[in-house]
Amino acid sequence: MAATEVSAPQAGTRSSTPRPGARRTRTPRTFEQANRRLKWAMLAPALLFVGLMIVFPLAFTLDLSLTDAFGAVNADKRHIGLRNFTDALGDTRRFWPAARRTLVFTVGAVILETVLGLALAMLMRKPFRGMRLVRTVLIIPLLATPVAIGILWLLILDPTNGIANHLLEGLGLPRQEFLGSVSQSLPMLMLIDVWQWTPMMTLLLLAGLSTLPEEPEEAALVDGANAWQRFRYVVLPMLGPTLATALVLRAVDALKTFDILYATKGAGGGSDFEVETLNVYAYGLTFDYQEYGLAAAVLVLFTLFIIGVVVVLRRRGGGKNA
């Protein structure tokens, strides 16, 4: 194979490529060249996949958002400029409420998950009997099929036959409609999300905690700091980067939640669109109404929104993480 010059943007010198003379290898220069060719060859299939399945479709979405595509996918479509965007942004009946719900759902669920996850991680930080069992229990909600989780909670929260109301009655509290009510649906789904994803937070933060050095805490203890002070001024700052990463990961996934919303409340997020997030809205526009152009515009806005959230969170987290 000839030494085809693949233009490497940045020669990967940081970790591995042996510098000439640095090591007594036979022919370091060929090593480096061979490495340079090889690393791009190894990346090529992944890059090709990303290009064909992600970059190209995204570009296509962008183009589609400027057209009046509607109905059959092979129907004619015309470019109509930014009209889909002005339509979406002017829609106070479906689009803006959906955007608001997306934000409420994400912010509420992620804050709860972070606080609970952190508390649980601190609780489980030091080894205890049955650690393995508890970790197994924690991992199951994250791996269980979301649709199954959705119907499981439909049963538990069933207004007439569910165990949840049975328990409330046992405690002398009034029965609730839960997912049957317009006002309670979104909070209930946030709680289900908290049930499902707090373990993820806990596991991420436990992993982060296990990498922290012990000395600063010992020093603080010797200085007479109490448990809360040690947590607040020693552990929390050191855990910052992990916390930021976990937060971004969870926020991104929460923004994209679809399965459980759709499985429990169906198309449109219920009769009154009560859990219709941007995700569910865009899905409905595409597959229930065949409004491909408008849906594409909503998706472009949605994607920009997510990227914005990630940029803001990463800057505030001050990390190069995630």
Binding site: R132, I139, V147, D223, N279
Partner: protein, 294 residues
């Protein structure tokens, strides 16, 4: 506060901390309270699933009577009836097929790429690929549907496999990059001085060492493929339907058959639970690896 960088002078006769350090007084009481708190929390996360498994073995009358609780005479009727209805078995086959094929293909693509990114610190290229982790799946679903429908591919296994790879390629890369970055580079260099090619060093030295990581990443990728709902909802037809869609369809026309619903949910959750129990340690490591090492 009192936690500035300068450590206070240690007491001359440092008491040797036994095992773990930083234990306050009143240790007994805290250990007890901690045990109770951990037990309660574990129950909160475990009980809903236990409820689901239990309901799968109840009669419909028992399922809709919350008083029945966990003590009842189990029956297999729910499983019998959904298996006899047929679709669930076929869907499990489809999910298995799509999951295995998409995971294997993803690993073949993603592991070498992760090696390149991890080994040569190509973080910019790496994060380009990991952007796929951020892009909402639905924003690809629309163009995919549009394009695949025109190619007449909707309903085919090909489209399902390709769409599921959208999740697993970045996932496997995410896990494997930090894995390869953590392997000592000297091993490969030694292999190279011994006469192996650059690819040979990867193939014969790094790849075998990465086998456990690859297995973990692949298992996770399979689980996420098994669970994936949105892609199959759009791209599968009756013949190629996967389990989450079958379960979803079940809700709409059998919403009173709670026993059957729970049996179906149990049936598709059990493989995942087995995976979680068996591979607990590795799966946790896989799920958390990319995040803590950045």
């Amino acid at each position: 506060m009192s936690t500035t960088a300068t450590p206070a002078p240690r007491p001359p006769v440092a008491r040797q901390p036994r095992g773990r350090t930083t234990q306050p007084r009143g240790r007994r009481k805290w250990t007890w309270l901690r045990g109770i708190a951990i037990t309660l929390v574990t129950l909160v996360f475990a009980l809903p699933l236990v409820w689901m498994f239990a309901a799968a073995f109840k009669t419909n009358v028992q399922v809709t009577d919350p008083g029945v609780g966990l003590w009842f005479k189990p029956t297999l009727d729910n499983f019998r009836s959904i298996v006899e209805a047929g679709q669930i078995v076929r869907s499990m086959g489809n999910s298995l097929l799509v999951g295995v094929v998409s995971t294997v293909l993803s690993a073949v693509i993603a592991v070498p790429a992760a090696w390149a990114v991890g080994r040569f610190a190509m973080h910019r290229t790496g994060s380009l690929i990991l952007v796929a982790r951020i892009v909402p799946a639905i924003s690809l679903l629309v163009p995919w549907y549009y394009l695949f429908a025109q190619m007449g591919l909707v309903g085919s296994y090909t489209v399902l496999v390709l769409s599921h790879m959208f999740v697993s390629v970045p996932l496997i890369m995410w896990i494997m990059i930090s894995f390869f970055a953590g392997l000592p580079v000297e091993l490969e260099e030694a292999a190279r001085t011994d006469g192996l090619s650059a690819f040979g060093a990867f193939w014969r030295v790094s790849l075998p060492l990465a086998a456990p990581g690859t297995a973990t990443a692949s298992l996770l990728a399979f689980v996420f493929s098994w669970n994936n709902f949105m892609f199959a909802l759009v791209f599968a037809d009756d013949r190629t339907q996967t389990v989450p869609v079958t379960l979803f369809n079940f809700i709409s026309y059998a919403s009173t058959d709670w026993g059957g619903l729970m049996a179906a949910a149990t049936l598709i959750t059990v493989p995942v639970v087995i995976a979680a129990v068996v591979g607990q340690k590795y799966l946790v490591a896989g799920l958390t690896s990319g995040a803590t090492k950045g």
